[in-house]
């Protein structure tokens, strides 16, 4: 487990507000995963796989539910997210993860990795790699919850399911290997690992660039903007009615990003 993920797992539970955010984010991820698998189990042909996926989908939705309930308990205790920094969020979603944002699932995989586009082997390989990673992450999160037995119990329960998910996807991949589809399985696993790595690489690049840009903005704030800041400081905002802006033709006004 990389050092970064250790510290992220620790930070996620460091105060009630972050805990709430983490629980709600896990709930969303699990619910998304569950929905995807509900769709997948309808189109797969292999009856054994369909049976597993049915249980897998129910597990994911139940996990979402467990996280939701715990988050609701925290909210009922008065824990609330401070006002959402919406100014930041869309940018992160839309650009820092690039155009992949629309096409990545909760585990960071390309959404293209759906059963109908990848085929059954590709889809199971994707699930296998994702579930292995999820199990590792959840084990890590569980370690930091010694002082919160209720939340810890959720992770213990989920980890049992994750073991089953890793096991059945592994068994199916082995079965297909034995049926002479070894190279197909190998290629699918490489693709699954690669798509995760590619997504993580892009996110890392975007985050580094974002950190650097913010640092530059702070420098600008104390240099270039200093005189403007001193002039504007404490200015009382204008009250009363303001007449609408006019000027230019209708189309010119509509084309302008300002007026």
């Amino acid at each position: 487990m990389p050092l970064l993920e250790f510290s992220r797992a620790r930070a996620a539970w460091s105060d009630p507000e972050r805990k709430l955010k983490t629980l709600e984010s896990f709930a969303r991820t699990e619910a998304d995963g569950g929905r995807d698998i509900v769709l997948a189990q309808r189109i797969v042909v292999d009856p054994e796989l369909r049976g597993h996926l049915e249980r897998h989908a129910a597990d994911e939705l139940r996990h979402a539910d467990l996280f939701h309930r715990r988050a609701a308990e925290l909210r009922a205790q008065g824990v609330a997210s401070t006002r959402e920094e919406v100014s930041d969020k869309p940018y992160d979603l839309a650009l820092s993860r690039g155009k992949l944002a629309a096409s990545t699932d909760g585990h960071g995989f390309l959404r293209l990795a759906l059963a109908d586009e990848l085929g059954e082997v590709g889809y199971v390989a994707m699930l296998h790699v994702a579930e292995k990673r999820a199990a590792k992450l959840f084990r890590e999160h569980e370690r930091y919850l010694a002082d919160d037995p209720e939340t810890r119990a959720i992770f213990v329960s989920i980890l049992k399911d994750e073991r089953y998910h890793v096991a059945y996807t592994g068994t199916l991949l082995q079965k297909w290997k034995k049926q002479g589809r070894g190279s197909e399985v190998k290629r699918a696993l490489s693709l699954a690992r690669g798509s995760r790595f590619f997504g993580a690489w892009k996110r890392l690049g975007a985050r580094s660039a974002s950190g650097l840009s913010r640092a530059i903005l702070v420098v600008m704030y104390f240099t270039v903007l200093l005189p403007f800041g001193l002039l504007a400081r404490g200015r009382k905002p204008k009250a009363g009615w303001v007449e609408p802006r006019a000027g230019g033709t209708v189309l010119e006004r509509l084309r302008s990003q300002y007026g």
Binding site: A64, H68, K89, A239, V242
Partner: protein, 547 residues
Amino acid sequence: MRILGLGAFHRDAAAAVVVDGVAVAAAAEERFSREKHDASFPRRAARFCLGEAGVTARELDFVVFAEKPSRRFERLLADEMTSYPRSWKSFPKVLFPWLGDRLWVRGRICDELGVDPEKVLFVASQRARAANAFFGSPFEEAAVLVADEALEWAATTLARGRGSELEVLGEIHHPHSLGLLAATASERLGLGGAEGFGRLYALASSGKPTRAAEVAAAVRFAEDGSYELDVERLGEALGPAREAGGPLLWSGGDRTHADAAASAVRAIGDVLLHLARELHRRAASENLCFGGALASSAELNARLAAEGPFRRLFVPPAPSDAGAALGAALDVAHTLGKPRRAPLAHAFLGQSVSPGAPVSEGAAREVVERLAAALAAGKTVGWARGRFEWGARSLGNRSILASPLGKGVRERIGATVKRREDYLPLCCAVPAERAAEFFDVPAGTEGLAPFLHVAARARNGSAEAIPSVLQGDANARPQLVDRGTDPALHDLLVQFGERTGVPVLVSTSLNLRGDPIARGEADATAVFERSGLDLLAVEGELRERGG
């Protein structure tokens, strides 16, 4: 003329397509991304809307963005400079997304949709809200009031609509903003960011405005009909902020937080009435179209209708951020195309639950009969059919329904189905022609009731019959269902009435807490699997728990 309207980067990003002045499709991005109040660029919603309208992006005449991005940037920059140097921490956070992305939204739209830059237009966000309120209304002429948080500078707008003309009469600029007042109150009470307004109004109905005088002192009414807001004083006036981890005090002996909410909502109502009087003086109309985030409060709308100077009131299904996408498109359609006015007859502008799978009349009738029987037997059911609703309210196409008879319904739905706080209201549906038997719907609000935008008092006697849909001082949020607009839900209500004597059903959105309302079959199934719903009907198919 084919126009795509887009709204993004605040809350509830959305897209809408207007063809020859008629809204053909509209949807919020959250329904597709499954992220509540998703504010990111609405590419999935846009794709859906174009598909529904049968138009490719290249065939569009215009793409309209519901904001003037440079004006908003100017306002944010000015805000940061006003609090120099205390703003050094927030400055990079606020500026970063703008310099990297939002200022170049024209390019983004061209990249995403492959349209010519000449086709990309911008309508100021408050004007877009005003257009959404007026052009969707049934009125040929009306006064238009918009009250919201400021995106560019304007936080309040007065306008006048006539035919295909919309004229802005005056604006009040940030920080004198009713949206800011509501946001401050919601923040101090720990009610959450984007969802805070709805929670604030709901909480208010459990309290008394005991701090009204203190809150009123933070608002100054000017003689010219405008108002000033002293935000710092407002914070103190609301009392101490709720601590993280502290309980929300709204029931029993200590209702401190509900009282603070009621005081804030009272002050907001007072300012709205003050503005309405000024607007009436300037626009001299009997009709008022109300838009912006404040218009989503059924209680404020009821007060505006009862105490305001206008005889008739209209609020569109999505009055705020999402609605601005449709408003921007309607504004351009009417400004440049001058089509015949086409009032919004219903809010079913979203995606079908099962595209391409029409349900036979017989199957639909059978579903209604079985649902009526299950509801009369005390079961809680989910119903997903047809196109999903435009706006934040479910109006029967993605709904959870239950019998309102007896006690404990609210608690059961709150605890096992929706998993939400008890103080949040449960809406109800009633056949329009029988609404007067149960509720005193304020006169002049007939246009609001189908969209769940008005609160009504329970009539004497009905409070005992339907206690679970009443809140605070016997107030309810009834949806008046017209047979012509929604025959299936109307039939269900009538059949339920025949079985129980009361044609009223609890009706709330088909989602779990924190999730957006269900879009398609997979979402509906997920809600069914994860909640305590007894039955789920998806078009002609019924699923029973354990069945």
